[in-house]
Symmetry: C2
Subunit: 292 residues, 2 copies
């Protein structure tokens, strides 16, 4: 990798750029972002060598690799244009949290084989260039979708990059990817955002939230700090699966409420004990996979 | 403080014992617990000098201070009996997460003035004697209810103990306490438990939960590891406030779902942006108040 382009200079794009700089000595890194302030911050932080507006996609032509780390709707808009522009040797990779629509959009593109659909299971609740960190991807899961549709030499390059970052590779169908992510990740974000909303409605005096946040609220609401620009398009793009999981969640809350009304304490206790088994699942997660 | 009794040798009782040992050189610490295994663990860990079954409340007679750290229903059962037994100079303190029912139960006891209703806003998702840690209470909020009903000399002693632990004191009415805690803490626990339940229902293959937990689930579900023995009685005892907050939460989730069905992306994004303001509230929390 001698020249790499990153579209979207936030937490994910920035952390990717930093990792590439570490891994490939002398690599030239160029960054594209709609925001001038993000471009300037990224230049100041030193993890890119040159910055351009997203309109200037032609700057990516000679890159060995292009990494798209923008909201999923923007990935869908840009992916075809990026493929149109780049040379035959360029590998194009995205980092979107949905995969079905992105794979659909790119399906019939003449350069489909130069694209690899990815989803790094990595992040924090922070966003923007300053949130980027060197170790974000190390020991994290990298999900690759439709791997067999990527040209063998480029797929090989992609694996070398991700293995260099010490990522763990998983292969998945885009339909299954979107289902699993709705259940495990997207629902968590919605439950957290709605918890934040509810508590702010019920507690107009912020002092009380502040004083009592140590009693469980702080960790449960952490994801409600996440970027609406990234997350609103994810929910809409994965609407069907998200709604399925939301309905199940609401049903469970409703049922819990009814048991509470009836004061079925023994039932509630037994149910909570069952749910405690989540411990044994979570305990298998390595500590450095717990960033978000 | 020369002799201190702790009822309930778990995370809270144990952390209290460790702090007392640190603070009062030569203090004699006795521990009561229904579980023989907990008693033995506490003795092995060395933070109590002697252990008894909870039936042997008479062992507490000559204590300068008795600390009740058992489920709230058990506090209600024991509090009168403890007060019956203890000497005139004994301060009795509880650490229950509800305050209204506990204050009601003790209201007409002839030794009401020897009791102080407390709630330390401190904890982790772990439980049992081995979960006890020295620094649990440092820089945490200690809520005191009906402080003026406690005899002045004993109230003074209690403040000295909590200030020695570097706790921050707040005074609160029991009715308001239970309301605030339902909104900020109890609802967070239910949302987390129900999230754990939903994800386990939707993802029968634990491998998928494990692989994707880094994408938000792990932090949001953390409270679902909490002890059902402690929490089921809290929900039931604070039933009305908990149901109020649950209803509001379910309404908000329902509304979110309807907006998603309509694909009101702009609305969803604007709402999430509003909720992001939770950041500025949470940023005021000192790091060491973030344990749970």
């Amino acid at each position: 990798m001698r020249k790499v382009g990153v579209i979207g200079l936030g937490l994910i794009g920035g952390s990717f750029a930093i990792s590439m700089r570490e891994q490939y000595e002398g690599v030239e890194l160029i960054g594209l972002d709609v925001s001038e302030s993000h471009r300037n911050q990224a230049l100041d932080l030193g993890w890119i060598d040159a910055a351009y507006d997203v309109k200037e996609l032609n700057m990516l032509k000679t890159c060995d690799m292009v990494f798209l780390a923008v909201p999923v709707t923007v990935i869908c808009e840009l992916i075809g244009k990026v493929l149109d522009i780049v040379d035959d040797h360029t590998l194009v990779v995205d980092a979107g949290s949905t995969k079905q629509e992105i794979c659909r959009v790119v399906k019939d593109h003449p350069k489909r084989a130069q694209f690899l659909a990815c989803h790094p299971i990595a992040g924090t609740e922070f966003s923007g260039p300053k949130a980027a960190i060197k170790e974000l991807f190390a020991q994290k899961i990298q999900i690759l979708c439709e791997f067999d549709k990527t040209r063998a030499d480029l797929a090989h390059n992609a694996l070398a990059v991700f293995e260099g970052m010490q990522m763990e590779i998983r292969y998945m169908d885009p339909v299954m990817h979107d289902k699993h992510l709705a259940y495990v990740s997207h629902l968590s974000h919605i439950s957290s955002f709605m918890l934040g909303k509810t508590v702010m409605q019920l507690e107009p005096d912020e002092k009380n939230i502040f004083d009592m946040a140590g009693s469980g609220f702080e960790s449960t609401v952490r994801l409600a700090k996440s970027s609406p620009e990234m997350w609103a398009p994810i929910f809409v793009q994965n609407k069907e699966n998200v709604i399925d999981s939301l309905e199940r969640y609401i049903d469970n809350l409703q049922q819990f409420k009814e048991n509470l009304i009836e004061e079925n304490e023994a039932f509630i206790r037994a149910e909570m004990k069952d749910i405690n088994s989540i411990k044994s699942i979570l305990n298998r997660i390595p500590t450095n996979n717990k960033s978000q």
